[in-house]
């Protein structure tokens, strides 16, 4: 267990440094890192400090939020198909963020952006849990998720198309696919407090999720309050996914792929899977964000595109497996 933690932390650290030295400006890695630590007075220091550093930090934060929420949702619903992107939580958070920006609320009050995204996410998680029930039947979950994602995506497009700003329509791709291009420290400070609170809440669900593997009655017999567990899960997921989406757009599949890959290493214990998926999510988004800059450097490839290319085949595989199990 501790070995897994050490390995994951090492991977995240290595990818973090790799992300810092990957970019469009041509400069050697050593030179870049020196410009980051010491203000050399040339433009490279500005690039490293104001563009690359917040980008790498955000990749790690967003990845942690998505991995952690995916693992928590899967643990609570006892269903490997639950994922904030797929069940419409990210999409609804994006709608909340877009509404805050387009109504001008975010311009007059910066915190309105993460708050509004959080509100969108709360509505989606609440709807999903109400529809799928505590047992989280696979079909109900996926169907409810499809409906919520589709509605949130359509409303996001509608709001942006109605904007008086001719460039707002170009933002649709960002909100539906996610990107970390040209984010600044302002975005880090905006999202970090919400993510932090969300992570703490999700971490607090660990014992409840472990107990829940014995079924609801078993968990209640162990003194777990299911109502409290659900509240922690809804608010924790909404806070972390809402904050992540409000600065990076909706990035799907992270919460699906990461817990799936790491589950065997933690003995399928949902509590332990939480922190492992948080670290794994950070590694995955850092890697994906490096890839979008290496594969198509001058095209501003969106993160969600890359994640879908990796995640969708796995998702289909999981559906196939679930179908065999229930058949």
């Amino acid at each position: 267990m501790t070995r897994l933690a050490v390995i994951l932390i090492a991977v995240v650290a290595a990818l973090f440094v790799a992300s810092l030295v990957t970019g469009y400006a041509i400069a050697g890695p050593i030179e870049s890192l020196r410009a980051l630590l010491v203000d050399t007075g040339n433009p490279l220091s500005v690039v490293m400090r104001e563009i690359r550093l917040p980008r790498a930090i955000l990749a790690a934060l967003v990845g942690t939020s998505l991995g952690l929420s995916g693992a928590a949702l899967q643990g609570y619903l006892r269903n490997p198909l639950a994922e904030p992107g797929l069940i419409g939580v990210s999409g609804s958070a994006a709608l909340g963020a877009v509404l805050a920006i387009q109504t001008g609320l975010a311009a007059s009050f910066a915190l309105a952006l993460p708050f509004s995204a959080l509100g969108g996410a709360v509505v989606a998680v609440g709807l999903i849990l109400a529809l799928a029930g505590p047992r989280g039947g696979a079909i109900t979950l996926i169907l409810a998720g499809i409906a919520i994602s589709a509605l949130a995506g359509a409303l996001t497009s509608l709001v942006l198309n109605l904007s008086p700003n001719p460039f707002a329509a170009a933002d649709i791709v960002f909100w539906l696919m996610g990107s970390l291009a040209d984010r600044s420290f302002a975005h880090v400070w905006l999202a970090l407090p919400f993510m932090g609170v969300g992570w703490l809440m999700l971490a607090a669900t660990a014992r409840g999720l472990e107990a829940l593997t014995l079924g609801e009655d078993g968990a209640e017999a162990m003194g777990i309050s299911l109502a409290r567990l659900r509240l922690l899960l809804v608010t924790g997921t909404a806070a972390s996914v809402g904050a992540a989406t409000s600065v990076a757009g909706a990035i799907g599949f992270v919460g699906l792929v990461v817990p799936h890959l790491l589950r065997p290493f933690v003995g399928a214990r949902p509590g332990a899977l939480l922190w492992a998926s948080g670290l794994g999510g950070a590694a995955m988004v850092l890697a994906a964000d490096i890839a979008v800059r290496v594969v198509l450097p001058d095209r501003d490839l969106k993160l969600g595109v890359l994640m879908a290319l990796v995640g969708a085949p796995l998702f289909l595989h999981l559906i196939y497996k679930t179908r065999k199990e229930t058949a």
């Binding site: 970019g23 500005v46 690039v47 387009q102 460039f167 040209d182 501003d300």
Partner: protein, 272 residues
């Protein structure tokens, strides 16, 4: 005497018509740029409709003149119902619309967008030919060339400038905007970055190029994330100027002269 004159006129009209059809009298333009060219060249009453965008003062430098002509929404159905005998469109107009109009038997004249200042004269001439107003077109071309020559002054020091649009887009020397920048006495850093036409210039490359001035697009009402890069703290060390009146830059028309003048003023302001 009067009768013979009328007869002669009728005869001339008939004979002339046999050799050469009368100029188009119900011309519909469905593109912001062809709207402007047509408004400059057409005889009174010849142009019966312009695109809706032309009525918007935020998009068209000729909105006042355009408002005297009814607007259309540029769709094939709507345009057909206006019974035009000539439709003016851009090569960027949706191909389905052009095909539909041609299938309905309406002549369509397509104008390629101008990629340089010299293209502008060619487009005015093309418009004169399409509307059969060659003399007016000739006059407009002469006026434009004279005004352009008058703006041409040798520049001792050419500042390095970057054109920066939303979504980190920039344009190089082989574009109309690049040509305008050159004519105003700037060197374009896009050339240093190997960009000749239009391409994404990531923010960090812009910072590394360290241009003397970043010329950005103007603010539109409402919000969009696409414009976020303009307020990125990494640009704090650079001079960012909001000197682009998009209306004067969008189309290859003599209005680009105003854009060149605005940039020339900016260059002089920077030199102080």
């Amino acid at each position: 005497m009067r009768l013979t004159k009328i007869t002669a006129l009728i005869a001339a009209a008939i004979l002339g018509g046999a050799v050469h059809a009368a100029p188009p009298s119900r011309v519909v333009s469905i593109n912001l740029c062809t709207d402007q060219l047509a408004l400059m060249v057409a005889a009174p009453g010849q142009l019966i409709s312009v695109s809706r965008l032309s009525h918007d003062p935020a998009s068209s430098p000729m909105s006042a003149a355009a408002r005297s002509v009814p607007a259309n929404g540029s769709g094939a159905e709507e345009v057909y119902l206006l019974r035009p005998d000539l439709v003016l469109a851009s090569s960027f107009t949706a191909p389905a619309t052009l095909r539909m109009l041609r299938n309905l038997g309406i002549p369509v004249e397509v104008f390629a967008p101008a990629n340089s200042l010299s293209d502008i004269a060619a487009r005015i001439t093309q418009m004169g030919k399409a509307l059969e107003q060659p003399d007016t077109a000739l006059e407009r071309v002469a006026d434009f060339r004279a005004a352009l020559d008058a703006l041409h002054t040798p520049v001792a020091h050419r500042p390095r400038a970057a054109l920066y649009y939303v979504n980190s887009y920039t344009t190089g020397d082989n574009t109309l905007a690049g040509d305008i920048l050159k004519a105003a006495g700037f060197d374009n850093v896009a050339t240093e970055a190997g960009i000749g036409h239009g391409a994404t210039l990531p923010l960090e490359r812009l910072v590394m190029l360290a241009p003397d001035v970043v010329i950005r697009g103007r603010d539109y009402p409402g919000q969009s994330r696409a414009e976020d890069a303009f307020s990125h703290p990494a640009l704090a060390g650079l001079t960012v100027k909001n000197a682009l009146d998009v209306r004067d830059w969008t189309c290859g028309t003599p209005h680009v002269l105003d854009a060149i003048r605005a940039l020339r003023d900016l260059r002089e302001e920077l030199a102080q």
